[in-house]
């Protein structure tokens, strides 16, 4: 229709439901269990039985405040509970207890790093509410309802429409997951549905200085980061194409709509128009009293606010001189970063600990499929092993073997090194003898090292390996290298 060049800008806002990791539900004492048999974690309150009344879960409130603080939100000093009315079989009261006009958290922001740029995404609000149950359609011809999930505490986080690409949204969601697990307020498990995303997407199209905006599409119920990225990217293209097809496809002329993401086909599908805004008839829940957040409550939560991942990453790089890649790996998990930092506090030399932590400890943990914090090696023993490498009493190679032994035994690494015969020999006399032995047994390599410039370096390395082997790993590789160089230069003369 038009030959004029267009530029497009995608406008994205996110609504994210985060399931809090409280022991019990939002308004009753039922346990939160992921895979319990249907309708076994229920009571009169979460079944919505006549006469049953809700009581708020203080832990959920504290977790929400903690998250709000981490998102730089203002925490409301007076907040209340509202009923949101709509009929659905998985919602036994036919209203959801939520927060309408006085949410617990408001006006925050969250910084993310996208391709090297720091982006500040404003947080509009975050409020607490209860989850619904699940409708099961396994049996043909009927719908069964499982209310185990009904009443699960959810924190709904709503951003301003500050995100500009599918990639940014993807990063935002992954960073948010990292944040909530870091804070310990959510398990953040995608498999268990602990985080659900609903992006609102439209496109601003600029044609020679005139801007057109496509209708806003809400993509419902995404439960993986990949689907967030895929659905937004698809929507952005679809809306642009739809406008190019028909210039009347603009906000105001065409109703906003809800769409669902079809993961198999990689497309969004129309669900319903949002023309008639649903009337939820919000009103304050008379069964619950408003919450006044006291100074003490706020101070208590603030005291529990840990250093957040973004600040910690920066500090680990500047303070410990870690590479961005290693920092990313270590700071990714709060317990891991704490362990690292404790080991430094226990006197570990940072440069050696950094290498050991990533190449030894994290690898051992990874091989065993457990978090590094579950390796039964505490910060003190880790620090000791790093120090032993630093002072030359064991080689870096030997440290690998000692580390493995440390997993099974709680003895100090010094004792294990001794038992394994890995204490490094610093005795030059013994080492000179090993070098002689290696030179005698590998004449070709010695010749290459002396005469073949192409092979000189490799041959020297080869000889060093031989010496290490003869020493049974006890020789100090650095010292061995020096001795080999010395012997070679003597031979050259």
């Amino acid at each position: 229709m038009t030959d004029q060049a267009i530029t497009t800008r995608t406008i994205i806002g996110l609504e994210i439901h985060v399931q809090l990791r409280t022991a019990t539900k939002m308004f009753c004492g039922c346990p939160l269990k992921f895979d319990a048999p249907p309708n076994t974690c229920v009571c009169p309150v979460c079944l919505g039985h006549p006469g049953a009344l809700p009581v708020i879960n203080r832990q959920a409130l504290a977790y929400s405040m903690l998250t709000g603080l981490a998102l730089s939100c203002d925490i409301a000093r007076h907040t209340k509970w509202d009923r949101k009315s709509y009929y659905y079989p998985d919602m036994p009261k036919n209203y959801q207890i939520s927060q309408y006009d006085l949410p617990l958290c408001e006006h925050g922001h969250f910084e993310i790093s996208v391709e090297g740029d720091t982006r500040r995404i404003r947080i509009k609000r975050a409020h607490l509410e209860e989850d619904a149950g699940k409708n099961l359609h396994d049996v043909p011809g009927c719908t069964l309802v499982d209310l185990n999930r009904a009443g699960t505490p959810l924190l709904e986080i709503v951003t301003e429409p500050d995100l500009t690409s599918a990639e940014e949204a993807f990063v935002f969601c992954t960073e948010l997951q990292r944040l909530v697990t870091y804070l310990g307020v959510s398990e953040g498990s995608m498999q268990k549905g602990h985080m659900r995303f609903e992006p609102n997407v439209n496109v601003a199209i600029d044609v020679g200085g005139t801007e057109y905006r496509t209708p806003i599409v809400e993509i419902k119920n995404l439960n993986s980061f990949k689907s967030v990225r895929g659905a937004i990217a698809f929507e952005s293209q679809r809306q642009t194409a739809a406008w190019q097809e028909d210039h009347d496809y603009v906000l105001g002329k065409v109703p906003n709509e809800n769409r669902g993401w079809n993961d198999d086909r990689g497309v969004t599908e129309f669900q319903r128009p949002k023309e008639a805004a649903h009337d939820y008839r919000y009103f304050p829940d008379p069964d619950l009293v408003p919450v006044d957040v006291t100074d003490e409550m706020l101070a208590g939560v603030t005291a529990r606010l840990p250093e957040l991942p973004i600040a910690r990453r920066a500090r680990f790089m500047s303070e410990f001189g870690l590479s961005p890649k290693d920092t990313e790996i270590i700071v990714g998990h709060r317990g891991t970063a704490d362990l690292f930092e404790n080991a430094v506090k226990c006197g570990a030399p940072v440069d050696i600990l950094g290498k050991q932590f990533v190449n030894v400890w994290l690898k051992l943990a990874n091989d065993r499929n457990v978090p590094v914090t579950d390796l039964s090696v505490d910060a003190e023993r880790m620090a000791r092993l790093a120090s032993m490498v630093a002072d030359g009493s064991v080689s870096a190679t030997a440290a690998n073997r000692i580390a493995e032994a440390m997993l099974d035994r709680r003895d100090p690494p010094d004792l294990l090194a001794d038992e394994l015969g890995l204490v490094q020999v610093q005795d030059t006399g013994a080492m000179e003898a090993w070098v002689s032995e290696a030179f005698a047994a590998n004449e070709q390599a010695v010749r290459d090292a002396l005469t073949n410039p192409k092979k000189a370096k490799a041959s020297a390395g080869f000889l060093r390996g031989k010496v290490m082997r003869i020493s049974g790993g006890k020789a100090d590789p650095k010292l061995v290298g020096q001795l080999i160089e010395k012997r070679l230069s003597e031979l050259r003369e």
Partner: protein
């Protein structure tokens, strides 16, 4: 003739008689009397006898079963009890059996009481005559052509007809006090939060309170002491000490300041009712009370304010009755929407539907500010009126209802006239204060008339002692309705 709760508990505790004998007598009395009255929806005879036997066994073991040892009690059928149905007088819960006992039922049983059955009510508490019910209308024991009042009509009639010494009701806008007045018994609505609502099927959650009914204020005090107190399962339950109401009954009334407001004695008040109420106030004056005129300027808005708030809350509270999880479900729904619509359409009575529609409208977007929000503001003004008044008086005296019990069917076609029968009682619910209804005489036609005394928050003790001492000086409560005197 059945004795008072106080006397029964004493006799059972001192082994003068067994709880089982008392229960058997009570059940026989209900059997012989309730056929004409329809106070009960369900009588749990076997369970009551079994429970009484346990009380006797406890006594035999030397244990004290509690202050209500062996006292038969009737409970309004919107309060959940395990074993048998809790119907709320509605077809939609016709077969509903609660999985748990309401807090009040637990407290009563822990105090040794024997629940003998569940009493009739206006469906979900919505009414003033116990005519809006899925089963039979409860008749007034004083005159079978008259209503017993409502919505706790069954509880009031059961006590008035001496079928039980005491009963439990609920009061959202006068539902304990008005039937108590129509049936000549004492009924107390405590301060909002005084008695846990856990297990009371919600009608207007911010107004509902459970309370006792008995012939004498002494028994009401005894029961209130048992059921009042904090319950952490009800967030609106107040954690305040419960005084010994019985011990305070004879505290002297000297210096008692009784407020009288023109707003409660104006147009629409029956002359005979006015006469009895004024005579009762004169009586209290002779006992050391002084009368202080007070002004409650926002009283005229109470009815409108109340009906917006109560219907809004009801529309939400009753949303859960949809046939999906429990209760009546239409046999062959076309689809999900039809299952909701038909189940509710078939299950609810006309008055319930009317109130759900009114409340849904009041909460709808575009109307919320004009109705619900405004009603909340008026409610605050009404509450302030009372706070102001209680600066200068200890209690406010008024009629309970503008007229004695009206004729069955008289107001069923005129909802507004029915709503107006609550005009003197609803303010106490809106303000969250306590109020009691005490028999203070009879009309020329022999119909009971009640005096209402309203007190400040947590002023139940004072109201009970005034009521008790008034009863000591009068004999209205000693009159027995004709339907019961044949026994």
């Amino acid at each position: 003739m059945i004795a008072s709760a106080t006397d029964i508990a004493k006799a059972v505790r001192t082994k003068e008689c067994s709880a089982k004998e008392v229960a058997a007598q009570c059940l026989a009395r209900i059997e012989s009397t309730d056929g004409n009255t329809h106070a009960f929806l369900r009588i749990s005879g076997e369970k009551a006898i079994e429970r009484a036997r346990q009380v006797d066994e406890a006594i035999a073991r030397g244990e004290d079963p509690g202050p209500l040892a062996g006292v038969p009690i009737a409970v309004k059928d919107n309060i959940c009890t395990v074993g048998g149905t809790t119907t709320c007088g509605s077809k939609i819960l016709e077969k509903f059996e609660s999985r748990y006992d309401a807090h009040v039922a637990q407290r009563l049983q822990a105090a040794g009481a024997v629940i003998v059955g569940k009493t009739n009510l206006d469906e979900f508490g919505m009414g003033s005559s116990t005519e809006n019910t899925a089963t039979a209308t409860t008749c007034n024991p004083w005159n079978a052509s008259r209503v017993a009042g409502g919505s706790s009509g069954g509880s009031a009639a059961a006590v008035a007809a001496r079928m039980v010494p005491a009963a439990i009701g609920s009061d959202t806008g006068g539902s304990i006090r008005q039937p108590a007045s129509f049936c000549s018994v004492v009924g107390l609505k405590g301060t909002y939060g005084r008695v846990s609502r856990y297990g009371l099927v919600a009608y207007g959650s911010s107004l509902d309170q459970i309370g006792p009914l008995a012939v004498e204020a002494r028994d009401v005090a005894l029961l209130m002491g048992v059921i009042a107190g904090h319950d952490r399962r009800d967030s609106t339950s107040v954690d305040a000490e419960v005084p010994d109401y019985v011990a305070g009954l004879d505290d002297p009334l000297d210096g008692l300041r009784i407020g009288i407001s023109e707003e409660y004695l104006g147009e629409g008040l029956d002359e005979e009712v006015r006469g009895c109420v004024m005579a009762a106030i004169e009586n209290l004056k002779t006992r050391g009370a002084s009368v202080v005129p007070i002004h409650l300027p926002h009283m005229n808005y109470a009815i409108a304010c109340y009906y917006v708030i109560v219907t809004a809350e009801a529309s939400s509270n009753l949303a859960r009755f949809d046939g999906v999880h429990y209760g009546h479900r239409t046999p062959e729904p076309k689809d999900m929407i039809d299952m909701y619509a038909s189940s509710r359409g078939e299950g609810f009575g006309a008055e319930v539907k009317r109130r759900i529609m009114l409340g849904t409208y009041a909460l709808s977007s575009g109307y919320y500010d004009a109705y619900y929000l405004k009603a909340l503001k008026v409610r605050t003004l009404i509450r302030r009126d009372f706070e102001e008044a209680f600066q200068s008086v200890d209690a406010i005296a008024s009629p309970v209802a503008p007229t004695p019990a009206f004729t069955i069917g008289e107001k069923t076609e005129d909802p507004l006239a029915m709503y107006l029968s609550d005009i003197y009682t609803i303010s106490a619910n809106l303000a969250g204060i306590c109020a009691i209804s005490v028999p203070c005489g009879f009309s020329g036609a022999g119909l009971p008339i009640g005096l209402q005394l309203m007190g400040p928050a947590f002023g139940e003790g004072k109201l009970l002692s005034v009521a008790h001492q008034y009863q000591q000086a009068t004999d209205h409560h000693e009159q027995v309705p004709p339907a019961s005197s044949t026994d």
